[in-house]
Subunit: 500 residues, 2 copies
Amino acid sequence: MDDDCDIIEKNVEHYKNILFPPKIYDEEAIQDHDNLLNRIRILIDDDGCPEYPGDGMDESYSIKIIDGSADLQSKSVWGAIRALETFSQLTFFTDDNKLAINDSTIIFDEPRFSYRGLLLDTSRHFIPVPVLKKQIDAMSYNKFNVFHWHIVDDQSFPLELPTFKNLSINGRYSKAHVYSMDDVKDIIDHARIRGIRVIPEFDSPGHVNTFGKTYPEFLTVCWHNGKPYQPIYGVQGKAEIFNPSFEPMYPVLESVLEEFKELFVDDYIHLGNDEVYYDCWKSNPQITEWMENMNFSNDYSHLQAYYSSKLLKTVDKLDKKAIVWEDVYENGVKIDLRTKIQLWKGAPENISWADTLNKVTADGYEVILSSPWYINYISYGYKEWYNWYTVEPLKDFKGTEEQKKKIVGGEVCLWSEYVDGSNIESRLWPRASSIAERLWSPAHVNDPEDAKFRLDEQRCRLLRRGIPASPVLNGYCGDYEYGMEKSVIFEKEFNYGWPN
Amino acid sequence: MDDDCDIIEKNVEHYKNILFPPKIYDEEAIQDHDNLLNRIRILIDDDGCPEYPGDGMDESYSIKIIDGSADLQSKSVWGAIRALETFSQLTFFTDDNKLAINDSTIIFDEPRFSYRGLLLDTSRHFIPVPVLKKQIDAMSYNKFNVFHWHIVDDQSFPLELPTFKNLSINGRYSKAHVYSMDDVKDIIDHARIRGIRVIPEFDSPGHVNTFGKTYPEFLTVCWHNGKPYQPIYGVQGKAEIFNPSFEPMYPVLESVLEEFKELFVDDYIHLGNDEVYYDCWKSNPQITEWMENMNFSNDYSHLQAYYSSKLLKTVDKLDKKAIVWEDVYENGVKIDLRTKIQLWKGAPENISWADTLNKVTADGYEVILSSPWYINYISYGYKEWYNWYTVEPLKDFKGTEEQKKKIVGGEVCLWSEYVDGSNIESRLWPRASSIAERLWSPAHVNDPEDAKFRLDEQRCRLLRRGIPASPVLNGYCGDYEYGMEKSVIFEKEFNYGWPN
C-alpha cells in the first residue's frame, strides 16, 4: 500500500499512545515476561489511501500473533483501523507495567452490520469540540463507523454556514455555542482518521424553530378561534413547522443544503422529517385554501409528501443520498430507493419496530434500526443495557435473504435534553458499548451474563484511554481511575486542547 | 468575634474565588453598573471560634444589602458560612463580567431541619480524595451539613486504621484504593471549614465481608444439608455476618471503634445494623446451641439485639453517640434515647416510611429520614427530582409538637454500585440540590414548577464553581460550560491536586 497514507500514519501514532499510555506504561521496567510484544506489521491489500469512509467500506481483517509477533492483515485501510483496535485489546500490562500480548492466536473478523451509528444532538445542549472529538475516539474504540450529527433543532442552530450566517447568529445560544466551519472540518477530519463517517442532519419541516428566527415567513402560522399566532399547550406553538405552500422557501433551502453538501463530505445527508404534527397546518386558512387548489382532499400527508419530495429531489440534484426518519415512509411519500429509512418509533420500549422493519425492507428500502436504542432514557443498574444488548434485529424478521441485506445496521441515539459536556461521557460509555457489540458481533454472541465482564473490562480500557466511562459492576479498574494520580483522563495524548 | 478564626479566614478566601472566579470575572472591565458591590461586612455575635460543627450548631443568619454594601450577621461562625453562601447567590455578573449585587434587600434565614445529610459510599467503588473534597464543597453550596461516610462494606475496606492495618491491607481493592489516616484527617478538616460534619459508618453485623478477610473467625459459617460453608444464591454466602456468640470478637470491635473515635472527631458514630438477614445464623448449629443456652427461644432478633446492645454500649463507653439504621429499632433492640434512628425502608418508592416516623418519634427517638431520597436510583428527566422535591416529611405525621421536633432532618443517599469518580459529580449535582432545598427551606416552598428554574440556575452556579453538574432544562449556562475555554471545572482554585 501507499506508505504515505495519513490515515495509517495517524492511527499508528494514536495506537502508540494507547499501547504505551502516559503514566501507566513503564518503559524502565525489566522485561521478564514470556509474552512481551516484539513486532507488529500492518499489511493492507489495497494500494490506495482512501479519502473518506462510506457505505462500501471493507472493515474485515485478520490478526495473527505468533511468538510475540503480530501481523494485522486487511483488504483496506478501514479494516486496518479495526484490526489495530482489536489488536490493542489483546494486549495487557505485566505486573511491572510492561506491555504484553495474549498467547499466539489467529483472528478473522468482520462486522455483522455495515452501518453502526451513534447520534449526538448538539442543539438541545451544545457539546464543545474537544468533548466531541473524545467521543469520536471512543466510538472507534467500540468500532462504531457513523457519527450521525443531529446538529440543529428547535432549541438552537449552532452551525455556521458560509452564506447563511444569520441562521447561527440568530439561532445559537451564544457566541460560544457555535461550530465554525473550521470546527466542522476539524471534526470530520478527526472522524475520517478513525474510520468514522459524519452524517449531518438537516431536520425539517418540523424542528425548525431556530430557522424561523431568521426566516419567520417560512413557518406556518398557527390559528385558533379565528386568530393567528395562537399557541395551544401540547398541540401547537404560535408558529411552527415550515409552510410547504410557501414557494420562495425552496430555493433558500436548496442553497442551505448546498452549503451542507460543501461542508459535509459524506455521501449522505439526513433530512429528518420526524414528528411533523398536523394541527398547526390544519388550523391555517391559507394552507387549507392551497390544499384545496392542489386537490389534496384534506389529507395532510400529501402536504408533507409535497415538501419531502422537494427536499429529496434537491438532495438528489446535489448528487447526495438521503436518510430520513420513518415518518416519511409512513406518510406514503414516494421515496427514491437509494434513500435509507431510519426507524425510531417504539422507543424506549422494544416493541412495534419489527413490523416496520419487515414492511420497509419488503418495499426495497435499506433500513437503520434505532427504536430500541434511545440511550438518553436512563434507568438504574444493569437491566437497561441487558435490554439493549439482547435486542435481536432479525428476531421477528420474516423477509427473504435479499430483504435481510437491506437491514444495514443500527444506531444508538443520545438525545441531549439532559446531556451536555458535563455528563455526555459517563452517559455514553460504556452503555453504548453494549450496543456496539450487538452491531458488530455475530447474532449468537448474545449472553448478557457473559457480556457483562467484557463490558466491565471495556470500561476500564476506556479509562486507560482518557474516557471517563462509568462503572458496570462493583469493583475497580486500577490505580488510574478518575481522580487518581495515574489517571490519563486529562493527559494531552487523549485530549484536544481542553482542559489544558 | 475572634479575628483569627481559621474557619472564617478560609471561607473568606474561598468565597473570593467564588465571587471573582478565574477566567470569568473581568477585573479590567469598566465599572458602569448601578449595583456594583462596594463593601461586605461579616458580623458574628459569638466571640469564639468553634472547633467543629455539631448537633446544636446555629446556622441562622441575616443579610442586609443597602446601596451596594452588605452586612452578614449571625450568632455563630456556622451561620456566617451559610450567610456567605446565600450572599454569593445574590451576586451576578454584569455584561462586561464585573461583579454586581441584587438590589437592596433584607434576609432573615434559618434551616427548617438541623440535620441535612449526604451519604456517600466508598466501599463499592472508591472515591479519590480530590473528588471527595469537591463534593464537600458542593455540599456547602447546597447548605448540607453532614457527610455520612459509608466508608467500609462487603466490597472493600478502604480505611487505614492505626492498629488494625490488616483490615485495609486485606480488604482494600488495591494500594491506591485506600484512605490513609492523613487523608481522613484532611477530609474532616476540609468539611469542618465548610461547616460540615463527617459521620463515619462502621456497618455491622452484616456488610462485614471484608472484615472477615482479616478475622474469618468472626463470621458466621453458613450451613446447608449438614455441611458448613454452603452458599445459597440469594439466601446466604459461604460465611457472612458476624457471629454474635463469638465473645473474643467484642474486645477487637471495641478497639476498632476506639480507633474510629480517635480519627473521626464528630460526636456520632453510625453503627449501621441494616439488612441483617437471619438465614445463615439459623443454619449454624453452634449458634443454635448457644441460642438455646441463652433462652432466646429461636427468636433471632434477640441475637441481633444481643450484638447491637454490646456495640451501642461500647459507643456509649467511648463517650460517643450512635446513629443506627431503622432495622435495629424494628428488631426490638433496647436502644438508648440518645441514639438517632435513620429510616431507609421504602426506598426507592415514597411509601411506608410515614408510619415508622410516627412510631419512632412516639418512642422518643430522634429520626433522620432517607427512605424517599435514594438518589442512586436514577430515572429519566425531571420526574425523578420532582418526586424527591415534593416529599413532605410531615405529610402523614400525627404526633405531638414535641414528637415533631424529633424529626431532626433527612439524608440523601448515593450508594455507589454504579458510581465512582467518573460520574459521581454529574449524578449528585444538581439532583441532590433539589432535596437540599426541601431540608433547608420552609415546608410551603414546595412547587417544583417554580423550583425548576432555581435548580437550573443552581446547576449553572455549580459550573462556575468547578462542579460539573448536569443539565436540568434545555438551554445553556454560558461560555464557561464543561469543555469550553472559560470553564473553571479544573482550575486550581476549585480543585485539590487533581488533575493538576
